[in-house]
Symmetry: none
């Protein structure tokens, strides 16, 4: 039975001032969900000696050791070599892996560089964990009662392999305590306001534990309940979750992993409506978020990033006089963009956004962070005025969040 | 003389899925600036056993060990106790510290809680590092040739103590070694192809060290050189950097922290050119990246995310017959988008992108990942065909990268 784990992140880049090991956060979350605690994390550079020392200690003290990174095709990718040395196994070439790697390159019309053959070397006896999205497979090695998992460093590859090939088997090994979790994603209120509302409730519970996390433009309330069985954990969870959900009402946009753009997509699909966007200060971010959802082409018709005034007039159908009279950042222009793009594309809903993302371009009357958002549906146009703080990136993000939430609230 | 360091972050909260140890990033930056390299980082919970193991190893292998956190007044603040055990010293009560802590509480009209007396306990022989902004002082201990620094976990306290009481002394001990660093950002080739080209060069050098990192759609080559002085480090760096830069040629898009969209912006500004984009599968991502750069409104006129065929016709000026004859994903439509948006907006350069981002919508002839990119300038239109692997997010990102790089290469 596996109860504790440690994570070793390999890579000199993770020892620089600017890089953070995010893989371990993801792994910790999933391990915790099946009752396995992460007791130690180590970050080690591409140094064979150091990695060897760290691995030897880790294998001695932990039941599960997950090493991430250092499985690439280059000289400084040392993880497999060092593990083989520590567990005293030879490396063999796995034809099956080699063929997969060669196929990946061929299917893109490329020749496999000789270096990549290195990725098909495997310590004898290792279980191979398929990597459907990259060249380096993961490996699962059992050695003197310790489970050693080697996973590639790129987060996308690590996640696919870990969820498909590791979690099911680890769940079997973890036995005992079960966790149940719930996330509420909230937008449109501040973190302190949210805490004011729900702290009187969640502070009365030791189990579930409640964690409040401010993410970009939204707040996530995480509940984790422990129980003797899945049903037990779920029962303990639901008791608190229901109360919190009741208090937060329709500020909650998601009860799971869905993003705001996914939720907006669901509603549009459900109501068989279509959407078009004319955005200025958000610069394409709203379009980009909406179209990041697979299948969005069935409800998203078109977006226009109208940075120049000429493009506001030509592409989003704004009357030139409207800009002249009110300025490009005004309720009138936001409404004009929403109506204009709706008429031009025949979409059910048109959204218009104009504002000042900064750092330059602000004035006393129209400061950096001022954003007007409008939504046109049938013959009505609604308008919101926002003042967002922070830098260009934050202002753009919060503006896109507010625009998407305006669509969501119109559809619920 | 101190050349290498390791950092131990103490605290169970740092082993949760949501918390990152940021102190070590700050410490790494300052240590690097005086030529001390961080070779290992460990994050350990409030477990005496684990911390003891980690400390014993650290003291054996490193010249400088910095432990952060675990100096608070509560039961689970274990750092000092464990260090005293490892170096076999008794703990004594330092009257001077106790008085300072009492004074801090009194000056706010509070009684010192009994717990806080614990913070005045110090292993015999330790040098006390004043904490002007909190109750826990830092400690500097020398033990069998190893310098052990204990610093409080709150970043504000850690920074004040480290800069005032540690950096001056560490600079003396570091023996004047200085680091110089250089990054090359490359796009348009695979990591293994890049390594094939430059490994024959960089493997001949122990100093500088070379690290190759694959980021989203690009590869970063990091060089770190050590020298006796700043000039010496720079000279050692330049020797290798020049050779690598020569081999990579114009695949290098940046020699610093600039992103591809910033570089494209520089060139457009420099040449007083303007840009407009008509994108389909990238869904606004290209617009969004370009407009993420402050000041982009002076060269970016407009972007159209034309998801529906009607919007390709109406907003980007594609002849309907062109789509009918070739399909929406075709070289002809990419070229039509580039030319159409250029003519419609009067931009110097028009970019058109169409492709299949997936997961659905692919066929044998036009598989998921197929992307056509075109660039229109004056009376010429150029076209590239790409096949990107991976999921929707990755395909969109690589397509945006290829489109931006096509603009960059046209302008250099």
């Amino acid at each position: 039975m596996i109860k504790n784990a440690e994570i070793i992140a390999v890579g000199s880049e993770l020892l620089t001032p600017s890089r953070v090991d995010t893989n371990s956060l993801y792994l910790t979350e999933l391990l915790n969900s099946i009752g396995i605690e992460v007791e130690l994390k180590t970050i080690v550079g591409d140094s064979e000696n150091r990695l060897e020392q760290v691995l030897r200690e880790a294998i001695k003290r932990s039941e599960l050791v997950i090493a991430t990174g250092g499985l690439g095709p280059t000289e400084d990718d040392i993880t497999k070599k060092v593990v083989a040395r520590v567990i005293k196994k030879q490396m063999v070439l796995e034809e099956r892996i080699l063929e997969r790697i060669q196929f990946r390159f061929r299917s893109r019309g490329l020749e496999m560089p000789a270096n990549n053959a290195r990725q098909a070397l495997v310590p004898v006896g290792a279980r191979i964990l398929e990597n459907p999205v990259g060249t380096a497979p993961g490996l699962w090695i059992e050695h003197e009662g310790c489970h050693i998992l080697l996973l590639p460093g790129p987060p996308r590859e690590l996640k696919v392999i870990f969820e498909a090939s590791c979690m099911p088997r680890l769940t079997e090994f973890s036995g005992g305590i079960r966790l149940a979790t719930q996330v509420f994603k909230v937008t449109g209120m501040t973190e302190s306001r949210l805490d004011e509302i729900i702290a009187p409730i969640y502070t009365r519970y030791k189990n579930p534990t409640t964690t409040i996390l401010a993410a970009a433009g939204e707040i996530h309330v995480h509940l984790i309940a422990k129980g003797k069985s899945e049903e037990d954990a779920k029962r303990i969870l639901t008791d608190l979750a229901d109360k919190i959900e009741y208090e937060l009402g329709d500020f909650v946009f998601s009860r799971g992993e869905e993003s705001l753009e996914q939720i907006v997509g669901y509603y549009l699909l459900m109501r068989q409506m279509t959407l078009a966007v004319a955005e200025s200060c958000t610069g394409g971010l709203i379009s980009q978020r909406i179209t990041s959802v697979p299948g969005s082409s069935s409800y998203f018709l078109c977006g226009v990033t109208c940075y120049s005034n000429a493009s506001k007039i030509d592409l989003a159908g704004i009357p030139p006089l409207l800009i002249e009279m009110n300025g490009a950042v005004s309720p009138e222009v936001a409404k004009g963009l929403a109506e204009g793009i709706r008429l031009k594309t025949g979409a059910t809903i048109g959204v218009g956004v104009t504002g000042i993302a900064g750092p330059a371009g602000g004035s006393v009357n129209k400061p950096v962070g001022l954003v007007h958002i409008a939504l046109a549906l049938d013959n009505t146009v609604e308008h919101q005025e926002h003042r967002f703080g922070g830098d260009r990136e934050r202002i753009r993000l919060w503006a896109s969040q507010a625009a998407l939430d305006m669509v969501r609230r119109k559809l619920i």
